[in-house]
């Protein structure tokens, strides 16, 4: 049965205490959309990272502003759009770190964007300072399930090698 596109929205103040609330909201909808728990966790973490960036950077030196998390879902995909009305960010700086170098140099921070891009299937950034900056993150519902299972197996294999 084809599912109509459903839309859900939550708006909270840009304070870190609301991250848990947002994770719960997104997690419940991802489960309802039919994702396995592993993918629910990925969607929750990617959303948390996008919202954490808003809390930490979007309203820097400004009063607390809104974080809006909008979910649209249908049979094919689950789309999370996190938006704010803050200062925006430089899209050119959204490069993914070389993790080997990152770890060797004991760097700190800057992993959020990397995680978002790793955990989700498609990510789009839009910047319009003080009006609407947004991160749109898509997870496909069916297409990636088999790929995810393979990835899970890889992780388990890697884990048995790495874990002491």
């Amino acid at each position: 049965m084809k599912r109509q596109t459903e839309r859900y929205k939550i708006t909270t103040p840009s304070e870190s205490i609301n991250l848990e609330l947002i994770r719960d909201f997104v997690g419940k909808l991802a489960r309802r959309a039919g994702f396995a728990e592993d993918n629910v966790n990925k969607i929750q973490l990617a959303t948390d990272e996008a919202c954490t960036n808003v809390v930490k950077h979007a309203y820097k030196n400004l009063p607390v502003g809104p974080i809006q998390v909008e979910i649209t879902l249908n049979n094919e995909k689950f789309v999370v759009t996190v938006s704010d009305k803050g200062v925006g960010f430089d899209i050119a700086n959204l490069t993914r770190p070389d993790m080997v170098e990152y770890l060797n140099q004991f760097k700190k921070g800057g992993l959020g964007i990397h995680l978002i891009q790793t955990l989700m299937d498609q990510v789009t950034f839009r910047v319009n300072p003080f009006h609407k900056n947004s991160v749109k993150m898509i997870k496909y519902i069916h297409r990636t399930e088999s790929a995810d299972k393979l990835r899970q197996q890889e992780i388990i294999m890697k884990r048995s090698r790495n874990r002491r």
Binding site: L19, E49, M99, L103, F106, L111, K158
Partner: protein, 118 residues
């Protein structure tokens, strides 16, 4: 919203300190964890084991705490060893390659023993 989203319990065994972390480690709770490690370093305690058995969730803000202290800890002859991570939390560490930088143990006793036998 759950009460006590995050809690750190410290237990010292000779020169080894074990921090048991519970709940959620995100941008809201990371400063509490940072403070707990900072307190250890201020009293020159550099042999640290983190017991993850009751930690349900970690985001990059939590991972950042480990990255913020590891260099200083190792320069002082210590280490931060991780133990008893559940699958959800381990996957995030693994995804970012952290097992290459940190020693991760299945159980707490192994991590403590590693310090004692060093």
């Amino acid at each position: 919203m759950e009460q006590n989203q995050f809690e750190v319990i410290r237990q010292d065994q000779d020169d080894i300190s074990i921090l048991t972390i519970k709940g959620y480690l995100d941008a809201h709770t990371a400063p509490d964890f940072e403070k707990a490690i900072q307190e250890l370093l201020e009293s020159n305690r550099y042999k640290i084991v983190i017991d993850f058995s009751d930690l349900n969730y970690i985001s990059s803000a939590g991972l950042g705490v480990f990255m913020g202290f590891i260099e200083d800890v190792r320069k002082n002859g210590g280490d931060i060893k991780l133990a008893q991570l559940n699958d959800r939390v381990f996957k995030i560490f693994d995804l970012l390659g952290f097992p290459n930088l940190y020693e991760i143990y299945e159980n707490l006793g192994q991590a403590i023993e590693k310090f004692k036998s060093a």
